[in-house]
């Protein structure tokens, strides 16, 4: 009995049973379905959001009756027409898109050297330090962090005090477009670094040494070898930063001083301030449409398989 157990441990038995079960339930000829089966749970989870969006889509097709504050009974596209006719919304959409693009570019530029150093440094201590510095700010939360910036960049803040030492008059550093973009960049940096690091990890260090031994200086090595090879990470990080900043709410609200709204702020106003759920819903779907379009274009340009390097190797 005892020797049998050692020869055929419990874990193996479990695994064998599982394998058998898998064979019975999922014979080899079905193997083409395996990837879809693996994707199914994620698709189902996201489906929750899609069903929620269907509810939103339904409310977007009714206008608010201001004598009863109930949605109208009949279906209409009036909310969309109103939204499209208002120059205000176009301006806000343009501001959000431009902002998201600038924030993405800046985040990638600054996240890259950080991720590179974190991956390549021979010092385990430095690597840990960089990693912890990345994770800790998450724990203050976006809103409290934004208020921290109000204190630093304010008229009587630390920053202006330092400018005062070199003889520069106090400047209004907050409540403008650049302040919002800055807030977004510092919020997105950790995300970008975390998405870039694995991609850089995947570039063998030998390739870099090979390039430099062939006479390429570090800038050439960087632009011709490292950058192209980290494309999957760049695209992944870029998409995350782009979509998250396009739909952000807190930074424009706190650092924008109220006159730098992004689309999410306009949506907030409709849902919460003017109680016009239909209009809020229409704007929400509009934003989802724009976001998805941008994502689709990026995938088309860089290829949907960009993220799948394991497959690319074949």
């Amino acid at each position: 009995m005892r020797s049998y157990r050692t020869a055929y441990p419990f874990r193996w038995r479990v695994m064998d049973t599982l394998e058998m079960l898998a064979r019975v339930l999922w014979p080899n000829r079905f193997s083409g379905a395996v990837p879809y089966l693996m994707l199914a749970p994620a698709v189902l989870l996201v489906l929750l959001l899609v069903i929620g969006m269907a509810q939103i889509a339904d409310s977007s097709l009714h206008v608010l009756d201001r004598s009863t504050f109930l949605p109208s009974a009949d279906f209409t596209l009036a909310n969309y027409q109103t939204a499209l006719r208002q120059p205000l919304y176009w301006m806000i959409i343009w501001r959000s898109l431009l902002g998201a693009a600038v924030v993405t570019l800046l985040s990638l530029i600054f996240a890259f050297p950080y991720a590179y150093l974190m991956v390549r440094t021979p010092s385990a201590l430095l690597r840990k330090f960089l990693l912890i510095a990345l994770f800790l700010p998450f724990f203050i939360g976006q809103v409290v962090r934004a208020y921290g910036w109000l204190i630093i960049l304010g008229n009587q803040g630390v920053m202006n005090e330092m400018l005062g030492w070199v003889g520069i008059e106090p400047q209004r550093l907050l409540f403008n477009y650049p302040a919002v973009l800055f807030g977004l960049v510092q919020y997105m940096l950790p995300f970008a670094v975390l998405m870039l690091a694995p991609a850089i990890t995947a570039i063998p260090e030998e390739i870099e040494s090979a390039a430099s031994s062939l006479g390429a200086n570090w800038w050439r090595t960087f632009t011709h070898v490292i950058l192209p090879m980290s494309k999957p990470g760049l695209v992944g990080a870029g998409l995350v930063v782009l979509t998250l900043s396009l739909t952000d709410f807190a930074m424009p609200a706190v650092l924008g001083g109220g006159s730098q709204d992004f689309i999410a702020n306009a949506i907030y106003d409709q849902f919460f301030r003017t109680s016009d759920q239909g209009m809020g819903a229409a704007l929400t779907l509009f934003l989802v449409g724009i976001g998805s379009l941008v994502v689709g274009v990026i995938f088309t340009v860089f290829g949907a398989g960009t993220l799948a390097m394991g497959r690319g190797k074949k």
């Binding site: 599982l18 394998e19 898998a22 395996v34 990837p35 879809y36 693996m38 994707l39 749970p41 994620a42 698709v43 989870l45 929750l48 899609v50 929620g52 509810q55 939103i56 150093l117 991956v119 690597r127 912890i132 510095a133 994770f135 800790l136 700010p137 724990f139 203050i140 939360g141 809103v143 409290v144 962090r145 910036w149 630093i152 803040g157 510092q186 975390l194 694995p198 991609a199 990890t201 995947a202 200086n217 995350v240 979509t243 739909t247 999410a264 949506i267 849902f271 809020g280 819903a281 929400t284 934003l287 989802v288 976001g291 998805s292 994502v295 398989g305 993220l307 799948a308 390097m309 394991g310």
Partner: protein, 266 residues
């Protein structure tokens, strides 16, 4: 191999700037929490631990914190299998309609959080599950799921199809191959992804705002709601306690699995 000086300078200047922006608000919040005054100022006004005393004696806060931990745990437990499987599938196989599928799986990021919140509130309300904790965990999982999937696909670079083939050739059945070859290869991605999922769920406030009520309120929602007429230093103190907890978790993780794990190539 020693890096050229110009390269080191460029990298260090940029990393220095990033470190400064990452840590500046933390330092301010940390400092403000020790003020003896009634409002957040930096540098702090005198030194006192009164705000820590205040939050320590607040039972409501402790409850909210425990609920946030539960939400984050539920979120992470669901995200790990779901995101890992999806990530591996996307990285390993050629899939029909892949581009549409990618756009679909990115919906949690393209839908603004307010929209997600309202949509999920209506849906959960209809299902009659509003007012419980676990749906908030699921909601946090859905809205951050792309992080989990992508962390896994990003580390799938380590996935060597030849190695899997070799295992299969040696007679390893598919599930064994998955657990002994595929999973270990993407482990760095799984760990960084789940860490991120946990942290983000722990700090989520906009969607949770719509899914919680006074009895199920989570910590970030409580903080968000407290910023009403004045920002008091107790909010800073809560953040500091949060950071301390985070530091402990990170230290534990380092002792258990080693922080380097998701940066080292196999």
């Amino acid at each position: 191999m020693t890096a050229p000086l110009s390269k080191s300078i460029v990298i260090w200047v940029m990393v220095g700037l990033v470190l400064l922006t990452l840590s500046a608000p933390t330092v301010v919040v940390l400092g403000a929490s020790f003020t003896s005054g009634n409002i957040i100022v930096f540098p702090p006004n005198g030194f006192s631990l009164q705000w820590y005393g205040k939050i320590a004696s607040d039972v409501g806060l402790r409850g909210a914190f425990m609920r946030s931990l539960t939400v984050a745990a539920i979120c992470t437990v669901i995200a790990i299998p779901v995101g890992t499987l999806a990530g591996i599938a996307l990285a390993k196989y050629a899939i029909k309609f892949e581009r549409s599928l990618q756009v679909y799986l990115l919906l949690p990021f393209t839908i603004p959080l307010i929209g997600s919140g309202i949509g999920l509130m209506l849906l959960f309300g209809q299902m009659g599950i509003l007012g419980q904790i676990w749906p908030i965990g699921i909601a946090c999982c859905v809205i951050n799921l792309p992080f989990m999937i992508w962390a896994v696909t990003a580390s799938a670079a380590n996935l060597d199809p030849d190695l899997e083939l070799a295992a299969a050739n040696c007679g390893a059945p598919p599930i064994a191959t998955f657990f002994h070859v595929t999973l270990p290869a993407v482990m760095p991605g799984v760990i960084s992804g789940s860490l991120l999922m946990f942290i983000l769920a722990l700090n989520e406030f906009l969607v949770s705002l719509l899914l919680t009520d006074a009895r199920t309120v989570t910590l970030p929602v409580q903080i968000y709601n407290s910023i009403r007429s004045i920002i008091t230093p107790d909010l800073a103190a809560i953040s500091v306690v949060f950071i301390a907890c985070a530091a402990i978790i990170i230290a534990l993780l380092d002792r258990l699995v080693g922080l380097d794990i998701f940066l080292k190539s196999k």
